[in-house]
């Protein structure tokens, strides 16, 4: 157990503990801005702050006319169409240029890049990049492709079309976690609110082909995971890890003895179980906790639609807490599952998201409902950006400066199931690797290129392709993310 990680910076740890220990409960804590101005953990005070990646998934497409700058003239006639470009353009992004959907984010406009003309064609492409019919209904394909640059495997999952399996490539957050997540408690944390409906609708992060990182949608459960080992001494922690290793070794032997007695299909299921056991064993290290646990969030039914806003906010709070406590440098969040059938009464649109996304272009009432739903999500993203901008890293920089946040969607347009023109926004400075405050237009490039650029911005210059090889043509260029 020599690889147990000690908290690195005892000075900040103490101050951090004092700060958090003085709070009366997570409900207070998570609604109060006080803790967020604290110093983040996870790095030596003299070293540069860690780079961080956060992926945000939304469902059912956007309304292009109110998303992309310079497009709002279309909203009454063709709300889902924006004029494309024949070659790349690079224009400054200003608060005034934002469409209604992104207006809630106006305060962060200098830390934003809006991308137009970056398509998610890997959903429907073969290994050579030729358009082809891939498994899964149109909504199903999105989450498995957004961060992987791949598409879905064949399989037997239903729900929103189908049948299909899981995604066929590793996702960008997992690649980043493999490289920068090895010294944190969790290589990555996957959050969601009300991501239901089964795989592959409710998964955007993949550790490898066909290995979903299933998000946690109950804040209480996420809290338990984050703070499981809080309050343990180093000796206690080593004992806990040794115990777990003994039990996991036992289970591997136990499964090996049982397996030959079962049918082939049951053996396959048990093999999947064993894979989980092995992964758990491999992740036994890095189990220290840098922050003292605040009081747990109050339990809410994560299946209840009415809890959607509260759980969203609590999850985003926990996400920032996980980053600022040095528990992880990589996380993802899903605003519900793909094909989301969430209602949005709290956004002034008490309609079902998926059905509404299929409204006709001339159905102005429902177009407005969709805009309101998207605005609500932008408000939540803005909340996250506010917290990241207020959190100070050990080197004095702001967490948002060191982070790269990618917000995407399963579709560009809901009523045509278009994978073109996905509403992408990048936030943060990635430690200076990208130049923000810009609106970048492309003449229809695969989002695999965007994923390459993200890897490059995270410091991995060796990454030259991502996802399906035949689809990717290299990093985004002319204009590039670095400016």
């Amino acid at each position: 157990m020599s690889n147990v990680r000690e908290p690195i910076d005892h000075r900040t740890k103490v101050s951090r503990r004092r700060l958090l220990g003085g709070m009366s409960g997570l409900a207070v804590l998570l609604t109060s801005p006080v803790w967020k101005v604290a110093t983040a953990f996870g790095a030596d005070a003299s070293a540069p702050a860690a780079r961080r990646f956060i992926g945000l998934f939304s469902a059912n497409g956007t309304i292009a006319a109110e998303f992309f700058p310079g497009c709002s003239g279309n909203v009454s006639n063709s709300p889902n169409h924006c004029q494309g470009v024949n070659s790349g353009t690079d224009t400054p992004l200003t608060a005034a240029s934002l469409g209604r959907i992104l207006t809630p984010l106006a305060a962060h406009v200098s830390q934003m890049i809006v991308l137009q003309g970056v398509d998610m064609i890997s959903t429907v492409s073969d290994q050579l990049g030729t358009m082809t019919n891939k498994p899964g209904g149109p909504h199903m394909k999105g989450p498995g492709a957004m961060l992987t640059g791949g598409s879905l495997l064949t399989g037997s999952y239903q729900g929103a079309g189908g049948p299909a399996g899981n995604a066929d490539h590793i996702s960008v957050d997992a690649v980043i976690a493999q490289r920068i997540g090895t010294k944190t408690t969790f290589p990555s944390l996957e959050f969601a609110v009300r991501a239901i409906g089964g795989h592959p609708l409710d998964v955007s992060s993949y550790a490898a082909a066909n290995q979903p990182n299933v998000p946690i949608m109950d804040p209480v459960q996420m809290y338990s995971k984050m703070f499981a080992n809080s309050g343990l001494s180093s000796t206690q922690l080593q004992g806990l890890l040794a115990d777990r290793k003994s039990v996991l070794d036992f289970l591997q032997a136990d499964i090996a003895a049982l397996k030959p007695k079962l049918t082939t299909s049951d053996q396959t299921r048990l093999e999947a179980h064993l894979t989980g056991i092995r992964t758990l064993e491999q992740s036994l290290s890095n189990s220290a906790v840098a922050c003292k646990a605040p009081t747990a969030p109050s339990a809410l039914d994560p299946m209840d639609m009415a809890n959607f806003p509260t759980i969203t906010k609590t999850q985003l709070d926990l996400m920032v807490l996980a980053h600022s406590c040095g528990m992880t440098n990589v996380s993802t969040f899903m605003f519900a599952n793909a094909d989301s059938w969430q209602y949005y009464p709290f956004a002034g649109a008490n309609e079902e998201h998926h059905t509404t996304s299929h409204c006709d272009d001339h159905d102005s009432a429902n177009i407005e409902n969709l805009i309101l739903m998207n605005i609500w999500q932008a408000q939540q993203v803005n909340y996250l950006m506010d917290q990241l901008a207020a959190t100070v890293e050990t080197d004095g920089s702001k967490m948002l400066d060191n982070s790269l946040i990618l917000w995407g969607n399963e579709l560009g347009v809901g009523n045509t199931h278009s994978y073109q023109n996905i509403p992408w926004v990048i936030f943060g400075g990635a430690g200076g690797a990208i130049k923000s405050g810009r609106f970048l237009q492309y003449p229809g490039v695969p989002h695999n290129n965007l994923l390459v650029s993200i890897c490059n911005a995270m410091g991995f210059s060796d990454v030259t392709t991502f996802g399906i090889p035949g689809v990717c043509t290299g990093p985004l260029a002319s204009p590039s993310l670095s400016g």
């Binding site: 109950d218 115990d243 049982l258 049951d266 299929h358």
Partner: protein
């Protein structure tokens, strides 16, 4: 990956229909599994190739022998590893550790294979998802919490690992491994290598303390697949060319989990040890006892509740403008659920449990929330339900339960598509194809326009009609009931046309026109296909798998017993345990 147990034989017929239905049209069947409609998946729906049963897809329903049974030797398909449901898991821990069992809601989280998002398909356990890392982690957390609680309580520790003073602790621990292990695994633990594996775990923990050794063994047992799944290997004794008999312990576990949703009690375990669970008579004797136990008394009612997805009612969404009662009367969902349960109890206990009573009874149950439904005053409190007989035509058993009609509706209107789909999938066991990928929004609710008129494109647009002919005309027969299941006299300011029809390419033995809910109910009551479908659903519900060809003789015996008992669902438990499928598995 999920593993579907499927019956391949019906695939071809279903696929043909599917192709003819792939085009956009107004409305939706529940693309992606709406929370409020029947969604993508009544029992067997949207399963690739899942059985729609003999009377189902595309062929004549009435003339084909649904369950051709020619073999005289036992035959059964195999039940795959069944992961304990959340309730079974909790009950089993409760049975092993009693009150010391901690609350595990947070540890297990909501990302559970059993979250009900897919109708009966998930509720019945017909989809068995592979365990993924998050579940493995959750089980680890839960096992650690339970083991710590058990060992931390001196009385519990002494009861599971009794060790008289002066006894060697390790010897006691080995006794504990065997005695407690056979309870946790629902099977004897006698293999020396198996015992040695557990003792190695004990020894690792015993370096700290004896109690810690026991704690580690508990952690291991509670994460073992033999605890988490229902494992059925069989005796190895062939009972004919295709079947082997299950071991008495496996039969005990089946009885216990199917009837009680928990681990076997001492009586069952003793019967298994004595080899007294090998014949149908022996099993039936246990059944009688178990159904009288409080844990078994609501078995059939639970089946009926799950058929209409009653537990999902509180999450139904209603438009407050259209149905203010849904949001204003906070107790309404619970009242509807209580009403349905009272009705089922009455049918089962007072009306012989017959399909006729279930489908046509004019008896309704009212509490103070539900008086307004029927113009009664009998419901004088919230907590008690009074039986009231309403005039003929106003209520027809399960078909007019407000709980069902509320679920089979849109937030702002009754939805004939969901209602027709319910009849097709749940009562006739026909799998309808998934909706096409790009269905436009249905027309908005407008004053002066009836729902039948809003869905008229389904008749005129050939892209729609091939599939919607299967659902909409049945659903129109429910027209007297609004989106909360209340009687209505007009729709869109018009008199309601409740003429319906069972028609289209999926043939049934009750095809043809009918009028209103009573007309539909009398058709359903007279249908062999409906009776056989209820038998199929019962099989799926209790066995957590689809019936397959190897189960034909079992299905025939269940259906025969059902029919002989005047179509009484009360006989279904006995009919099930008397079938080969309950005592055997296939050779493999």
């Amino acid at each position: 990956m999920m593993t579907h147990r499927i019956q391949v034989s019906a695939l071809a017929a279903g696929a043909t229909i599917l192709l003819s239905c792939f085009a956009a049209c107004v409305g939706n069947i529940g693309d992606g599994g709406s929370d409020i409609g029947p969604g993508a998946g009544g029992p067997g729906s949207s399963q690739p190739g899942s059985s729609s049963g003999g009377g189902g897809t595309g062929s004549s329903g009435s003339s084909v022998d649904a369950f051709p049974c020619t073999s005289s030797t036992p035959s059964s398909a195999s039940t795959p590893l069944l992961l304990l449901t959340r309730a079974q898991y909790a009950n089993t821990l409760q049975g092993l550790f009693g009150a010391v069992t901690p609350n595990l809601d947070s540890a297990l989280g909501a990302n559970d294979a059993y979250q009900v998002t897919d109708g009966q398909t998930a509720q019945f356990g017909l989809i068995q998802a592979n365990i993924d890392l998050s579940s493995v982690t959750n089980y680890q957390t839960a096992a650690e919490l339970v083991a710590a609680a058990a060992v931390g309580d001196a009385a519990t520790l002494a009861s599971i690992d009794p060790c008289a003073s002066g006894m060697d602790k390790r010897t006691c621990a080995q006794n504990f491994v065997q005695s407690f292990g056979s309870l946790a695994y629902r099977a004897p633990l006698t293999d020396p290598a198996d015992i040695a594996r557990h003792m190695a775990l004990y020894d690792a923990g015993a370096m700290v303390s004896d109690a810690h050794g026991i704690e580690l063994v508990l952690r291991g047992m509670l994460q073992s697949p033999r605890f988490l799944y229902r494992v059925e290997i069989g005796t190895g004794q062939a009972a004919g060319p295709t079947a082997v008999q299950l071991s008495p312990y496996e039969v005990a576990a089946r009885l216990s989990y199917v009837l009680w949703n928990t681990l076997p009690d001492a009586t069952l375990t003793q019967a298994a040890a004595a080899g007294a669970l090998t014949t149908k008579d022996q099993v039936s004797a246990q059944l009688t006892r178990m159904l009288q136990d409080p844990k078994g008394q609501n078995l059939v009612r639970g089946f009926l509740e799950d058929l209409i997805e009653l537990s999902g009612l509180p999450s139904a969404v209603k438009d407050p403008g259209t149905y203010p009662a849904w949001t204003k009367v906070a107790t309404l969902p619970a009242s509807m659920q209580g009403q349905a349960q009272a009705f089922f109890d009455d049918v089962l206990n007072q009306q012989g449990g017959t399909l006729t009573a279930l489908l046509t009874s004019p008896d309704v149950f009212v509490n103070s929330d539900l008086n307004s439904y029927y113009g009664t005053t009998a419901g004088n409190t919230l907590t008690t339900f009074q039986k009231v007989s309403v005039p003929a035509g106003q209520a027809s058993g399960i078909l007019t339960l407000p709980a069902l009609l509320t679920l089979m509706a849109k937030p702002n209107q009754p939805w004939p598509i969901y209602r027709g789909k319910f009849v097709r999938e749940v009562l006739l066991c026909q799998d309808l194809p998934s909706p096409p990928p790009n269905v436009p929004m249905p027309p908005a609710v407008e004053a002066g326009v009836s729902v039948r008129e809003r869905l008229s494109e389904h008749e005129t647009n050939p892209a729609c009609s091939s599939c919607h002919t299967l659902m909409d005309p049945i659903g129109f027969g429910f027209g007297d009931y609004d989106g909360l299941g209340r009687l209505q006299t007009t729709d869109g300011n018009q008199a309601i046309d409740v003429s319906g029809n069972i028609e289209g390419s999926f043939k049934t033995d009750i095809d043809g026109p009918f009028t209103g809910i009573t007309g539909l109910a009398s058709k359903l009551v007279g249908s062999t296909q409906v009776r056989q479908c209820v038998a199929r659903q019962w099989f799926r519900y209790t066995m957590s798998r689809y019936e397959q060809q190897a189960d034909n003789c079992s299905m025939k015996s269940i259906d025969d017993a059902f029919h002989k008992a005047n179509d009484s669902v009360s006989v279904l438990p006995a009919a099930l345990v008397q079938s080969d499928a309950f005592l055997y598995r296939s050779v493999q």
